[in-house]
Amino acid sequence: MKRVLLLLLLFVCAITWACLMSIDFWQRQSVAAPGGIVAEVTYVDQAEFPDVTLYLDVRDESGQLVTGLAESAFSIREDGDVRDITAFIGSGDQPVTAVMLIDHSGSMADGQKMSDAIAAALAFLDELEDGRDSLGVIAFDDAFTVLGDLQVVDESARADLRTSISALQPDGGTSYYDAIYKATSMLKGVPGRKVVLALTDGDDTSSSRTNLGKMIDYVQDSNVVVFTIGLGADVRSAILEQVARETGGQYYEEPSGSDLAQLYTDIARSLQDEYSLTYRSPTPQSDGTTRQVDVVVKTSAGEAVAVGTYAVGGTFVPSLNVWSCAGSAVLLALAAAMLVAPGLYDRVRGRGQLAEAASEPALAPVPPPAPEPSPATPVAATCSACGEALRPGARFCRACGTPQALRDAPRAMVCANCGAALRPGARFCAKCGQRV
């Protein structure tokens, strides 16, 4: 019982320690935000690490996007180190890479839902710029239909998408997760910021290829951001919110569809109006740490600080440093000394020695010898090779080392020391310990 408790205590200690260590209690200080405007890092792209790209939007106090800022308005620090901006894309020039998901399950037949969704999708398409933005469209019910593969928008693609989106009819179940998974697979491997706009009006009812957890893992793994849009009153907002939060996106709720087209227009504009800043990390090693990036934005209306974090993989950094090599040699010597120290201590204290036979009261006092010589007292045998006298029961000759046939050696049936009867084949007395 006691050991189970002790073990439990050990476990609790270890887990508590790990929990303590997972708290970032040496929080790196952010630069104080003076206010006036608000800046937010929307996405950190580290696919090209050590080159890191930050996407951020800047808004004024009323929440309107601030556009037209120049590169000189931004400065970047990673973990306190000032970094140069190596690439900059200003607002309005930001290419959009998106896949739009349109729910056309049976429940979309209620009221204006289907036509609102179609109008919103067309509004989004209208905002995109030919030759720069890329769009893919997937319609889903029980299954999904790719209305348009991910491609750079141009005149003909626009016309094709218009036709196929407008023709959507509500029918069937809702395979929401499958559709997001498919959209992500279309975006996987494409560089830059990648967005899925996922509209639905109800709970996932029929996904067969994936589930919520797997889908989210896949989306995160592919560096894709999902914006979820819940249309109507029957949406499971908790799940849509979770998908958006865990992928770095945003959740929008539209109880009535009337504002849906405006929402899509806003999303398209906010994506195009994001600023992206690329810099090189001062710590290019994959050391498994989480880095904090502060972006200071200075405008005529005021200043703001946006904070982003990203984590690099790696479990451990090997390094080459002469001083640490010398230091480790010293440490190694120290550890070796620590290893032999207990043994030396024993030697000084005189522990670990076998006591001298003379001062040895260990064995039982030898009982008086048996009164009569035992009849089985061994006859002195001699070595078969050299004739040297052998000890009773000896297996080897002491003089020449020739092995002796054990069978030939006479064996005592009674202990020569105390006279007790011996087990057959015994090599010592079970009573007094005397070797036979």
């Binding site: 790990a18 498994g288 451990f316 670990g352 040895e360």
Partner: protein
């Protein structure tokens, strides 16, 4: 005394030495410039294998250096420890990286990866002595040690970066990280064995004086003697024969039985030879000139 502090201490120091050597082995990897996820995994595999090799070898040396004092067993322990450590270490770090990438960073994935590393490296001692119980103690101890050491690494590295310099934090942080890891893995392997064992021998005279030897409750027979192939080797006593005696398990009890030589048991006042004796808590025994006490947690012992 239940706690064999020397066992824990020596395991701790051995773990530190393993970590230090492991770090030294990974130094050449600093030249390896690999990008991308695949490169990261490749590097993890190498780091895990090298660190596992070093820690496994260091911990595998315990039996040969401090218990049996036999070169043959030292060689066996070091080789097997290194082998198991290499595979376990690589596997542990790869899995840690997978968790890291899935979970998006943080301290826990690394801690879990190193915990797995510790558990697999810790099993090596038990494997080389072919003892399931020791394997279990080692794995549990390594798991806990890896969890603690692995979670401490990042904070330590960040602290050094903050207090001294980024360069130093990154370079020395790695070395200290692996030493801390080795210390906790080694130390906790010792602690868990001492906490969990149900029966053990404490030597009171002879070369092993002050040390304890754990009896594996799963083994039917553990021989006691001077030979390398004994379950419990008694070194440095010329009066101990090669396969002197054996400790057998009968039900829940342990029974000592003489083999090639006599086993003396201390009665009220003096040591007398016994034939086959059911061991009870605090039975004092003598083999050759070496003395030891049997200690157990089994009920029915006179504890």
């Amino acid at each position: 005394m239940r706690f064999d502090f020397r066992r824990i201490y020596i395991h701790t120091v051995l773990g530190a030495i393993g970590g230090l050597i492991g770090w030294a082995l990974t130094i050449p990897l600093a030249w390896l410039q690999l990008g991308g996820t695949l490169g990261l995994f490749f590097k993890d595999t190498l780091i895990g294998a090298l660190a596992g090799l070093a820690v496994g070898m260091a911990l595998g040396a315990y039996d040969g250096l401090f218990a049996s004092r036999s070169f043959k067993r030292l060689l066996k322990g070091v080789l097997l420890g290194g082998l198991v450590g290499t595979f376990g270490g690589a596997l542990g770090l790869i899995l840690g990286e997978v968790i890291f990438l899935l979970g998006g960073g943080g301290v826990w994935p690394r801690a879990l990866g190193w915990a797995l590393f510790g558990a697999l490296v810790g099993s090596a001692q038990g494997i080389s002595q072919w003892s399931l119980a020791k394997m279990g103690y080692g794995m549990l101890g390594g798991l806990l040690g890896g969890l603690i050491g692995g979670s401490t690494y990042e904070r330590l590295s960040v602290l050094l970066q903050m207090l001294v310099s980024r360069e130093l934090g990154l370079s020395v942080g790695g070395a200290i990280g692996l030493i801390v890891l080795g210390v906790f893995i080694g130390g906790l392997i010792g602690v868990v064995e001492v906490v969990l064992r149900t029966a053990w021998l404490r030597f009171t005279r002879g070369l092993l004086e002050g040390q304890t030897v754990t009896l594996d409750p799963r083994k039917k027979e553990q021989t006691l003697g001077a030979a390398d192939d004994c379950g419990i080797v008694i070194p440095g006593d010329p009066d101990v024969l090669r396969h002197h005696a054996a400790i057998l398990r009968q039900g829940n009890a342990f029974v000592v039985e003489p083999r090639d030589g006599p086993v003396l048991l201390r009665g009220q006042k003096e040591y007398t030879a016994v034939d086959s004796h059911i061991l009870r808590h605090e039975d004092r025994l003598q083999v050759g000139k070496t003395r030891f006490t049997f200690l157990s947690e089994q009920k029915g012992g006179a504890s």
